[in-house]
């Protein structure tokens, strides 16, 4: 479950929680997943920031809400499907970038994106993912990369931890 494929020579001890072999292979997979999800969330927030750019800032309560919302979904998805971040990263961060774009749009030119705009942007993204997820079965029968994208976008952000 080592997801660090981009740099093989990072010194021991500098890898974040959840991303070294010893932790990933630990018997307590739930803890490993929790730690992995925290680093994945950082990756997604960086992408959200890329999508926002220098057009606006994001209120801290909106940051906390987005974190809480997606952390639960990511944890549930990872518990069900395992840690697929290496395979899925490009697709999921692209969706995060879209979330940033949508948040700017919902902020209607305000200097700061508030909680309401962030929630609307998240709803947009989740709708988008649900659409892809709904096509998942059909997509499975195809061999194109589009079908893979559909599956991935669906399960990372629509998995309901309550079910």
């Amino acid at each position: 479950m080592n997801t660090d494929t981009t740099r093989q020579n990072v010194p021991a001890g500098t890898i974040a929680h959840g991303y070294d072999q010893s932790i990933a292979g630990a018997p307590d997979e739930t803890l490993a997943h929790q730690r992995a999800v925290d680093a994945i969330l950082d990756d997604c927030f960086l992408s959200i920031g890329q999508g926002i750019g220098l057009r606006a800032t994001l209120d801290f309560d909106a940051v906390v809400w987005v974190r809480t919302n997606f952390r639960a979904k990511f944890l549930a998805a990872m518990g069900h499907f395992g840690n697929r971040w290496v395979e899925d990263r490009a697709t999921v961060t692209a969706v995060a970038l879209m979330l940033g774009e949508r948040a700017v749009r919902h902020a209607n030119g305000a200097a700061s994106i508030n909680l309401d705009a962030a929630m609307q942007a998240s709803a947009d993204v989740e709708r988008y993912c649900q659409l892809h997820s709904a096509r998942r079965s059909a997509a499975r029968t195809r061999t194109s990369s589009e079908s893979a994208t559909a599956m991935i976008a669906g399960y990372w952000c629509t998995w309901d931890p309550k079910h």
Binding site: D4, L46, G49, Q50, G51, I52, L54, V63
Partner: protein
């Protein structure tokens, strides 16, 4: 100060770094992990040991985060993505600035003044 709060602060700062980077280049996941590890330690120290309040410092810290992203983008010119080399150089730039600010403001322990 909960672990959850520190992680939310990290999210906030990496979002700011992403703002500084923009959409021109992607960032290697190793960089995200390295920044997370590095600044988590800094923030824990600043908040728990020195009693800094993130709410009070947020505007300044996120401005530094955006600068970190801009420096990383600068150092990655010529590369397809922002890699560890560019990230380390950017962190050095930013932390040098933080040191100078901390010394100017008379903080006793400038080494970990990520909030300066």
């Amino acid at each position: 100060m909960s672990v959850e709060h520190i992680d939310a602060i990290l999210n906030d700062c990496l979002l700011a770094a992403g703002q500084g980077i923009g959409t021109e280049k992607s960032v290697d996941f190793a960089v995200v992990v390295w920044w997370r590890t590095r600044y988590r330690q800094f923030f824990l120290h600043a908040i728990t040991a020195k009693g800094n309040a993130y709410e009070a410092d947020r505007r300044r810290v996120t401005a530094v985060g955006r600068y970190l992203g801009q420096r990383a983008l600068h150092h990655a010119s010529g590369s397809a993505s922002i890699d560890m080399r560019a990230a380390e150089l950017a962190s050095r730039d930013v932390e040098t600035g933080c040191h100078m600010n901390a010394e100017r403001e008379g903080l006793s322990s400038p080494a970990l003044t990520a909030t300066a």
